[in-house]
Amino acid sequence: MGTIALNSGLERTAFFYQSVVGKKVVMAVTGSVLCLFVLGHMLGNMQIYQGAEKLNNYAAFLQGLGAGLWAVRLVLLACVGLHILSAYQLWRLKLDARPTPYVKKATVATTYAARTMTWSGPIVLAFIIYHLLHFTTGQAHPDFRRGDVYHNVIAGFSNPAASLFYIVANILLAIHLYHGVWSMFQTVGVNHPRYTPWLKRLSKAYAWVIGIGNVSFPLAVLTGIVK
């Protein structure tokens, strides 16, 4: 092997990204941003339990941020984009790396969550698109009122089919996080025999919290707890 030369920032980034480690680190870092967003998003939405006014005010506050909101949205969009791009490329690499499949293959340690990352990911993505059309832009909503988030949520979730999709997608999201959160730490190099077991527990707890929190919204509407 010759000597490695990285003359510009671009070369440095390219070198990093071209390696299997670099792509994975990009995936982990973008994943962690999205992960925090998911938590914030859920906590914000919890205000639905405090009534229409509280939730709508919160929405108005966010809208009022203007450029700030767009900045956040752009960052999130970039993260989603990179997360997906790296995921796609890694998935291709995986297919390349083992062209002949096993006749028989068993797993010993892989959790259900880890095994399903490659398809829980795309379904969650489809869900996000639907979610945006449903509650943010309204095209997929039968009775969308700009500014009245509370109404949109109640009306949207009154449709059992839409609610079901929400519930399934959020369970998948939780499963994705179940493996993903711990995996992020591992990928960026955090592993210690003492703390890693705790990180794994944290990861599971995180997934449960997000899963239960998000699934609670459609359930609350369907069961009439929130009207």
Partner: protein, 257 residues
């Protein structure tokens, strides 16, 4: 006891292979798995058929030569055991087993259960060493090494290069193997000067050789016959990221003299 074997037979790397079924009548429970295959091979030879090719040498679980899949698990069902150390007492009478070679693009099948793992050597050649010419070493005790570091380095250095981690990984990643070397050398003061260079070059080579990436399933760690930990993979990611971020060109003026 009786064992039914379905074994992958493939003449060479360019011809296709298939599963072939064999029945073996008089298997002794104290035999090792490879001794059981020896018996099969003796039978095949006597019948004028070609015996099953599999790699093996030390039969003590240290050289890393042996290794194939038994019912979808590299080195078979016993944890912490290479296939040469696996004994038939762990199987039951009449059990049916599927034997397949390790599968990865970077490990082409040479014949039957034997694969070419020279990609591992090329990764080591890319940087899995400490540059020290014979004769230039300082007195051995002049650099003290923390016992914990030496022990951890030894844990990582216990890797036997059998390739089971690649075989078990859903992505055919060599991360456990590569990281074990990066950790072994990186944990020692002697390996510190080349730590960045080593991480960069070895990861680059691993990518070039066509291995997949790590999705942290922990499959490799679970089946590693030597118990090498994925803690090392975290260290590799850390070292690599830091190395690329802090990389500096070698001085244009060159060395002294």
């Amino acid at each position: 006891m009786k064992i039914i074997l379905n074994i992958w037979r493939q003449k060479n790397s360019s011809s296709p292979g298939k599963m072939v079924r064999y029945e073996l009548g008089n298997v002794n429970e104290h035999m090792s798995f490879l001794e059981m295959l020896d018996v099969l091979n003796e039978e095949l030879t006597r019948k004028g058929e070609e015996p099953v090719t599999f790699e093996h040498d030390c039969r003590e679980g240290i050289c890393g030569s042996c290794g194939f899949m038994i019912n979808g698990i590299p080195h078979g069902p016993e944890r912490g055991t290479t296939v040469c150390q696996l004994h038939m007492r762990h199987f039951h009478d009449g059990e049916e087993l599927w034997l397949e070679p390790f599968r990865a693009k970077a490990f082409p099948v040479l014949k039957d259960l034997m694969v070419d793992r020279s990609a591992f050597d090329r990764i080591i050649a890319a940087g899995g060493y400490i540059s020290i010419n014979t004769g230039s070493a300082p007195e051995a005790n002049s650099i003290p090494v923390k016992k914990q570091c030496a022990d951890r380095a030894m844990d990582a250095a216990a890797c036997i290069g059998c390739g089971a981690c690649v075989a078990a990984c859903p992505n055919a990643s060599a991360s456990l193997f590569v990281s074990a070397k990066i950790a072994h050398l990186g944990l020692l003061p002697q390996g510190e000067p080349e730590r960045d260079r080593r991480a960069m070059r070895m990861v680059l080579k691993m990518t070039e050789e066509g291995f997949g990436y790590c999705t942290n399933t922990g499959e490799c760690e679970a089946i590693c016959p030597k118990g090498v930990k994925i803690e090392n993979i975290a260290m590799m990611h850390r070292d690599f990221t830091r190395a690329v971020a802090l990389f500096r060109e070698e001085s244009k003026a060159g060395g002294a003299g």
